[in-house]
Subunit: 352 residues, 2 copies
């Protein structure tokens, strides 16, 4: 039956294609290999031709983006498009699939490993503890800020971030891990959320699954400027670490225990810091105000109310209901501050 099959090559190319994928190549009338989403290992096309006994045509971005010829051919016979990793992670592939289906061409995917499914195994980090993935591109500015914010949001929830690095097939450019680290440090200097500094523990995974792979972990101050060799690379900023993750990092990756640190500990939710500080401040003000209200019932009622709301703030914080905690402590402060505003002589110094 005619149609278009997207076949994932996995991480290594001809060695990592699946048995089913190779069978499909053998039976396809036309076989294309796209070369623009990730650097292909040398000689993959030739080795795939040898293994399948079929001619493989190397195609560039424009050919897949246009897609007209692929779709026309897939109306008459089986067309295989070989892609690096798992198919469809790249938007150009999904776009081609959508247009093919719209023209009545049946499509099918042969799945394979992607760098994102491979990282947990190679690093020992739990897959369930990864947050959103992000790509860093050249040029700094917005790209660095986006990556930085994603790491920050993931760390707030204790999650790990995998940062993929730009690859530009047309020039062969690929963003270096050291450049990515500098990008994060620049964003830190600008935004100052406390996401990254010399002490932050990071991991650089290079050439996973495709020969000569390396996974290196350590503090930023030690890894910045290091030469990690040819692409592809991924930089990981781990979040909260389970003890089994720490064990795997030490044992499997031989990462020194003094290098491994929990990056999420420093990132305490803003609300949490705010409420803790204001609760303390308000309790002192409350004590002082109480000493000065000398039996005035209305003042005592107000102070009692303020006290309740300070306790509420602490309780909400412990329940993780941060917004309500902030609202309560703000309200308590407002009540107490009204005393100062309305009777400067008696209550003017309650905040000191």
């Amino acid at each position: 039956m005619p149609g278009l099959i997207f076949i994932g090559l996995g991480l290594a190319g001809d060695r990592s294609v699946t048995v089913e994928g190779l069978d499909c190549v053998r039976r396809a009338e036309k076989v294309y290999l796209e070369s623009y989403t990730s650097p292909l290992p040398m000689g993959v096309k030739e080795r795939l031709e040898e293994a399948s006994g079929r001619g493989v045509v190397l195609v560039e971005r424009g050919f897949v983006e246009d897609g007209g010829r692929i779709i026309e051919e897939a109306k008459r016979g089986v067309v295989a498009l070989l892609v690096y990793g798992d198919p469809m992670v790249a938007t150009t592939h999904m776009d081609l699939r959508v247009r093919a289906e719209a023209e009545g061409v049946k499509t099918r995917l042969i799945h394979n490993a992607s760098i994102l499914s491979a990282l947990p195994g190679e690093t020992g980090l739990h897959i369930y503890s990864f947050g959103r993935t992000v790509t860093m591109t050249r040029g700094g500015g917005v790209s660095h800020t986006t990556v930085y914010n994603t790491v920050f949001e993931n760390l707030l929830r204790g999650l790990h971030t995998a940062i993929l690095l730009e690859y530009d097939y047309s020039t062969g450019f690929s963003l270096d891990p050291s450049a990515a680290i500098e990008g994060l440090l620049e964003a830190e200097a600008d935004l100052r959320y406390g996401v990254i500094d010399g002490e932050t523990f990071i991991i650089v995974a290079s050439r996973i699954g495709c020969g000569g792979q390396s996974v290196v972990g350590g503090r930023v101050e030690r890894l910045r400027g290091v030469e990690f060799g040819p692409p592809p690379h991924t930089v990981i900023v781990p979040g909260r670490l389970h003890f089994t993750e720490v064990e795997a990092l030490k044992m499997v990756l031989k990462i020194g225990g003094d290098e491994v640190s929990d990056n999420s500990e420093r990132i305490v939710r803003l609300a949490r810091r705010m409420v803790t500080r204001y609760v303390e401040k308000s309790r002192s003000a409350l004590d002082r105000a109480r000493g000065r209200c000398s039996g005035d019932e209305r003042h005592e009622l107000l102070i009692e109310n303020a006290e309740c709301y300070i306790s509420d703030a602490e309780r909400f914080l412990n329940q993780g209901r941060d917004e309500l905690a902030v609202l309560s402590i703000g309200y308590a402060e407002g009540l107490l501050d009204s005393l100062r505003l309305l009777d400067q002589e008696r209550f003017g110094d309650i905040w000191r």
Copy 2:
């Protein structure tokens, strides 16, 4: 060289093993196939034996958890452990790897597709828009709450959630997608964050990559109670949808346009809802209070302060500084409410 190789079978078993994986099986002195992390298709062991010409030993959880025999054998020769999907996603596999390395056994992974890398391609959802993944287990309570909270946190950031469903190899039990949907609805009835109701658009992906796969999308009211056939299944709650994602859902999955909706729109940050409501309420109270302070300077000073903080709250909200917005509106409320507490006769009804 002796050692332990973890070989991912991908999603289909013998058909989805990679060329390199199959070569490793052929060269291994001992080949184990674990059967407890996911339901294996019928006859996989036999077909793997036929394809590789090697005997394959089916092993259960206890054998891998203990691991003593595997590690001893891997000290003397090459041992292959075949696992479903991509190796190391399961903690028992990583634990075995850590212990093997601790005993000086070299380990290696042959990667393959996992359900998490396959989902974007099969659904058309962008991989970068997935948040944390979570597993739902039987028994409700804590498990349902955890899943519900993960969906909520992902939706707050506009992200999709993949919900994996419990599989218990010893009894053959696997959690049904309909049970998972009911679990989410129960958690909603309990927690009321507005995460899910009959209108919520969800996707159920069944048997991806392993024959007879189906991907169905639609509103909860239509999908609840539907029979989705044999496992494995994944339930996806999509977040904010890019127009290319909507297009793929309509075209590739043939999901009706009226069924597709953006689930993140309803989830406005709690802080945002809170501040908007309280700003309105405080402005009315402020107007009433002003009408009653009849030239009292202290009261006017207090009201002026309250007004500043109400404006601050709005400004902070527009800047995305939610915590400061909540703190400010809480403070303004406290100030205004002190009037009521201190002078019931004049200000008792400012909140109405």
